[in-house]
Symmetry: C2
Subunit: 497 residues, 2 copies
């Protein structure tokens, strides 16, 4: 087993370096001096160069060929699965192409930001076309030898959600969309519309409250910290997992729910078996499973009727009397209000997945070559009107709203909805297992839910493939039923349907 | 010139990675979650492994042998000087030995901290003996082929102060010590003793004041930031140079002068010619020159009679009426009080170098093999009594007070005093050039002094060897006269000698 030991030692250093690179990103978004960016770009590129050299190091291939996989235990085989997947991905893409993608997407982010600011899709279209061309080239390289059934979209998707396929997701999403559209229409047309929470909310009090909520949701501050950033995110694995938050004096729910969302990501990382530290198993197994943890924290738990009843008291203590009075049902309605809007990241639970589904379809077409980048805006606007019944008024409210495509993220969007689907499955199984769940949440007690998720999902890290992990946790193959049932029941109550 | 270009491109990435490693250290001392240390140790070790591999990369040797040095300009030749020196140092020390030193000193820091806490030199002596043995082995390796005239101490010293020799410093320090001892005796025996500043000083006000002082001393916060840390330090080069500070409610001078000291280090880095960014010339040229900048900021400028006159007003505004009243002469005395003490880092301007000189002599003897590590405490205490007239009461006030030897820093201590000597030379030349200096400082205006230092010293980065740089800046070879004259004149005034 010398080859396996040597390989794992090599991987451990790579994992440690990847953590360093990640922390450099955290630093950039939180504490970096504002004029340090040009030097930071070179530092980040140097780290990428080091990591790429390690991930394509031919010694990995040699070690892999010498290891007797049959002699390994489940952990060893899982490690090899991750290492082999990443090595094959890294070595199949020519260095020239990888460098070109890095260069073009780096430039594209600036162009995208400018185009968005000017609502000028035409200014962004040429570089988007170039990115799509390069990603298609990358996908073709990844499909060499018949991998991914020769499907370029699947080759890209696999980087974020191992084992998932575009066709499989398309089928799943096809059964999701009609019931979501129907629910959205009933909700928006309902006679009873809950009032929003209004007022001014002290930002220092918001920060204090969100820190308490993060701890209540299991975030370990001895192994993490909370800072402010423009966009909330979670960063790092193992013993150093940091989150960020933001505040808005008019909307405390932004801070509360983005913090709980990032806490879900962070707690997943923190609860992974310590034996997996700095190994390929020592981080969340996929973007979809990661999102399932952030979403179940944020939505099924923290936006539930029992928990919001408790939260209402906390918020009244933090901010003084609320515009919803002491009516827990009204507060529950305010938390879960459904409203028309163009922006994915601001969308409610009912409409969020509709935003994702259209991005999935459009990016699949772009990668398949059936939708030209220059025609994206027209296709986007047509689809948006079909799904949401509203015409997009400008590109920044339409196809320029998300950064993803400008940085080359194709195959990433569907993991958001897959995460919601997984969260639906996990929540149903959790409720079946935990009859005391609602009573605990009504007292602000997250321990039963957190314990269940840590045991069933989080501690395993990368040990199981995503779909296997969810099936082991829930006792059933993942499907859209639980999520839809949950949404229909919850919003029927709130909107008195 | 392909070889030179390739070498410089390789170096640029190495410089960028060194900045990343440095920032990881900043993170550890300022914002790292408290329980993240074990993972951080692995991350830092991984970065060291990457940097060591690059610094010993045989391609460097091949490039160096192919470059026609005669075809290079002064900048090119200076780059080669740094690269060659570091490459030779790195390749002469066997990887086994470098790893062993890293391991032993890492363990030794814990043992040192425990021994210091328990005032138990005997508990530290064995690992100190091992460190000395390893450093002697390292020095012997560095002396291979007759380098450093075969002098092991010089081989170690050269890492911190290129071109300096133990014999040269010993001669310099021999002319420093008698006049310092005499001055110290006269000062401590003087009839007039200035009163200390007493009172309680709001810590938030201290932080606000130190930030203003840092900016007044040229610190560019667009390329830096100030955080709190247990030990003040400056970190980073180029576009991202960060400093830390600490506060003590009983002693605002600690925060004020440690901040101005670190500002001196940081401004040196910030003022280096931007053309040298991420090259071997893009950082301070030696520890001695670095210390000269921090010391001239802290002492010759910020502890001067004119500047303290201005500072008194700032402090009264920040904290309310001062115990020294509105008497600028009394405030100047309080800032510059000389008092008996065991601890180097708390020492005043008169006695500081005496602390350094004894460490220099003791570490030279240890490296020469004429003083056994086990006998250090006895030798330390005897020397301390001879120089300071006081018996050391316990090891934490004696030979266990500094971390340096436990981390393997031999040859580092003398650069502190060399920095003071350089600061003395620079200050004399600056005064000769700037007749308006005192009037400006009395108005809190540091611009003439800062401009002079940036032009004569800081902008050059690593272009000139340290002694050459000082000679170019001052018009004379460095010597102890200016520092001694400055100290004798200043303290004669304060103590009415």
């Amino acid at each position: 087993m010398t080859a396996y030991r040597e390989l794992m030692e090599f991987e451990r250093t790579t994992c440690a370096l990847a953590q360093v690179a990640g922390r450099l990103g955290w630093d950039q978004e939180t504490v970096m001096p504002r004029a340090a960016a040009p030097q930071r770009a070179e530092e980040a590129e140097a780290m990428e160069q080091v990591l790429h050299a390690r991930r394509t190091d031919p010694r990995i291939g040699a070690w892999l060929s010498r290891i007797d996989e049959g002699a390994l235990d489940a952990v060893g085989r899982a490690n090899l699965r991750h290492i082999r997947r990443r090595y094959e991905r890294a070595t199949r893409v020519p260095a020239r192409l990888a460098g070109e993608i890095a260069r073009v997407t780096s430039e594209a982010q600036v162009l995208w930001a400018e185009a968005r600011a000017g609502d000028d899709f035409a200014a962004f279209a040429p570089v988007l076309a170039r990115i799509v061309e390069l990603k298609r080239e990358e996908a073709a390289a990844l499909c060499a030898g018949g991998a991914f059934g020769g499907d370029p979209y699947d080759a890209l998707l696999d980087d974020y959600e191992p084992g998932a396929t575009g066709a499989g997701l398309a089928e799943m999403f096809a059964s999701l969309r009609p019931r979501l559209v129907a629910l959205r229409d009933r909700v928006l047309g309902a006679a009873h519309q809950p009032a929003p929470l209004t007022g001014r909310f002290d930002e220092a009090a918001q920060l204090a409250l969100t820190a308490r909520l993060a701890e209540r949701f299991g975030y370990d501050l001895a192994h993490g910290r909370i800072d402010r950033a423009v966009h909330p995110f979670s960063s790092g694995s193992g013993l150093d997992v940091r989150i960020t938050t933001r505040t808005d004096p008019d909307d405390p729910f932004g801070a509360v729910y983005s913090t709980i969302h990032e806490t879900g990501h962070a707690v997943y990382e923190q609860k992974i078996d310590r034996a997996f530290l700095l190994t390929p198993l020592g981080q969340g197994v996929s973007m979809g499973v990661h999102e399932s943890q952030s979403r179940i924290f944020e939505n099924q738990l923290a936006r539930s009727r029992p928990f919001t009843g408790w939260l209402m008291g906390e918020m009244a203590r933090a901010f003084g009397p609320l515009s919803t009075g002491e009516d827990a049902e009204a507060f529950f309605g305010a938390v879960n209000r459904v409203y028309p809007g163009f922006i994915r990241t601001e969308a409610d639970e009912v409409q969020y997945n509709l935003h994702v589904l259209m991005r999935f379809d459009l990016e699949r077409e772009m990668i398949a070559g059936t939708l030209a980048a220059k025609d994206l805006e027209e296709a986007w606007n047509a689809r948006f009107e079909a799904d949401f019944g509203v015409r997009v008024d400008r590109a920044s409210n339409g196809c320029l709203q998300d950064v993803h495509w400008s940085v080359g993220l194709f195959g990433y969007f569907p993991t958001y909805t897959l995460g919601n689907v997984y969260a639906g499955c996990l929540y149903r199984a959790m409720r079946d297992d935990l009859p005391e769940l609602d009573a605990a949440l009504a007292a602000g007690d997250t321990a039963p839910a957190l314990g269940w998720l840590a045991e069933r999902v989080q501690r395993h890290g990368g040990l199981y493939e995503p779909a296997v992990l969810i099936e082991r946790a829930t006792g059933a193959a993942p499907g859209v039923g639980p999520l839809l049932d949950y949404l229909e029941e919850k919003f029927a109550r709130i909107y008195r349907l």
